[in-house]
Amino acid sequence: MLQSIVHVCLAGLSQGMFIWLVASGLTLIFGVLGVLNFAHGAFYMLGAYFCYTVLASLGDNFWLGLIFGPLFVCAVGYFVERYFLRYVYHLDLPYQLLLTFAFVLIFDDLVKIVWGAGSIGSPTVPGLGGSVSILGRMFPTYSLFIIAVGPLVALGLWAALERTWAGRVIRAASSDREMAAALGAKVPLIFTGVFVFGTWLGALGGGLAVPYVGLLTPGMGEAVIIEAFVVAVIGGLGSLKGAFLGALIIGLLSSFGTRFLPTFDMFLTFILMALVLLWRPQGFFGEASR
């Protein structure tokens, strides 16, 4: 029994940290730009594919893929923000959402054209490919690695936002655009920068997903983006702290749900999302501005 619960917890933790990696970029972009980015799932997918291509062409070196793959996606993110998204910030919400949704449609099909519509099996990571015994049952080493990476990314983000000059400017720009602009901060530049950085986080999540989910499929971003939405909403749209906690909750909930209530696993996730929105629309850590 103990063994079973520990393993369900570990699976939940790794799942949660995995969602957090994707949701962090989404949350950062929403917090600063105020745009809920559907295309984030597409960036995640592109991250996975680019990592795969890079690692495959550089002699199956996973780490090189992880370093260089997301950089390509950053270029895509720059293109999207600079030439499209920038022109809809002043428009109503549906237009912003649908613009990012248009990119989902485009990137999904582009991936099919470039990499083929079928799924691609992924290589294992040297040293992290096996399993370790925990309480007498095997647990994938790579999942443990993900559990470790999640908090590292969180710590890095926190340090970047709280402890650096750029972080202060970003926080100022997000809390009051006009004031920040008046103070001389170049808001459009900051927005582009944050969008590209958020894109990088999403693509990094995709890169790390390559060995984790095992298969690359066009449309792999869609399942993830909804989970990331749920997490971002539960934590409070725009709050990184909340997204981290939300990811943990959703990871554990879905892990326990799959184990004990398989029929209502998905239902539980969304009912939690609805309850949080109704009870505390600003989420656990969001600002109570509404």
């Binding site: 237009y95 613009l99 248009a102 909403v233 696993d265 969304f270 929105l277 109704l278």
Partner: protein
């Protein structure tokens, strides 16, 4: 355009569609029905999006409740198509009331996310309650029976049932847009707070708009189930809600005819693009992008502007 002229145009469209039903081959009939079903779905949906300014990702699920309600009655109780449609619409209405009751407490992104959550709850139930819904296979073997003694088993016959409901929808939505209620919805879109200070219980009106659009989604769903003779669990997925959004955008959010014109363009264009390439989604992405970046009035909005030869007020369609 004056009101008599508008009426004449729509009458001509319906008569034209009726003639088409008598002469066209099966493929054209099928396409015609797909257009009409999508138009029913989208015209109802646009009452919420274009008129009231609320973006819902839950209407795919409401469409599905219509389809499943219809299918369940058809498979287990009676093959009578009208009773089946009634059941589908009733189930969709009930679901819209429950979902809407919670969702209209919020607006903007919070409303959108709530509708997403509730829609996905419905999707997960359809997906997982296999004994009732057939899970990922959906419900199959829906029969069409006969309406008032007239058989509708063949597409050429069923077409006229769809046409009837399409014409009914056209008329109802037209009346709704021109009514006091329709004006109040536009007021809510323009200025939520001011509408409340005009003495209007805003939440009740938002709920009414949500339920009405849900009714039409349910109607489209139950007719769709009959057309395909099965139900598709993926129609409940949030991404299916993108269809009426896309259609309304293409045609023009602020016009009455927008969702209708958009449906024609959407169905026909998809058919054409699919002939040449597997990747029709790519092209729709590009079209969507172009509309948002360049012509937010949509096709009909742009046309209207041109006819008036001047800056048309953005919030007004040819409503009357």
């Amino acid at each position: 355009m004056n009101s008599k002229g508008t009426h004449a145009i729509y009458l001509a469209i319906i008569l034209g569609l009726a003639v088409l039903g008598l002469v066209a081959d099966r493929f054209v009939l099928y396409m015609g029905m797909r257009v009409m079903l999508l138009a029913i779905f989208a015209m109802g949906y646009n009452l919420l999006l274009g008129r009231t300014g609320l973006l819902s990702f839950g209407h795919g699920a409401l469409y599905a409740t219509g389809a499943y309600g219809m299918a369940l009655v058809n498979l287990h109780l009676t093959p009578d198509p009208l009773l089946g449609i009634l059941a589908g619409v009733a189930l969709a209405t009930a679901c819209s009331l429950i979902v809407g009751f919670f969702c209209v407490r919020h607006t903007e992104i919070y409303f959108a996310m709530l509708t997403l959550a509730f829609g996905m709850m419905i999707f997960s139930l359809i997906w997982n309650l296999r004994e009732l819904t057939g899970g990922d296979d959906g419900l199959v073997g829906i029969s069409r029976g006969s309406v008032l003694g007239l058989p509708i088993a063949k597409d050429g016959q069923f077409y006229f049932l769809v046409l009837f409901f399409f014409a009914l929808t056209l008329w109802l939505i037209h009346r709704l847009r021109g009514s006091a209620f329709g004006l109040i919805l536009a007021g809510i879109r323009e200025n939520n707070q001011r509408t409340s200070f005009a003495g209007i219980p805003v939440k009740s009106y938002r709920l009414a708009a949500f339920v009405i659009s849900g009714v039409f989604a349910g109607l489209a769903g139950s007719l769709g189930a009959m057309l395909e003779s099965n139900t598709d669990p993926f129609s409940a997925h949030w991404s299916h809600s993108a269809e009426p959004i896309l259609v309304s955008l293409i045609g023009g959010l602020q016009t009455f005819s927008g969702p209708l014109v958009g449906s024609v363009i959407f169905v026909v264009l998809r058919e054409i693009i699919q002939r040449f390439t597997q990747n029709w989604m790519l092209w729709f992405g590009v079209i969507l992008l172009a509309i948002i970046m360049g012509m937010r009035g949509g096709v009909m909005g742009g046309l209207e502007k041109r006819l008036k030869r001047g800056p048309a007020p953005a919030g007004k369609g040819e409503g009357s």
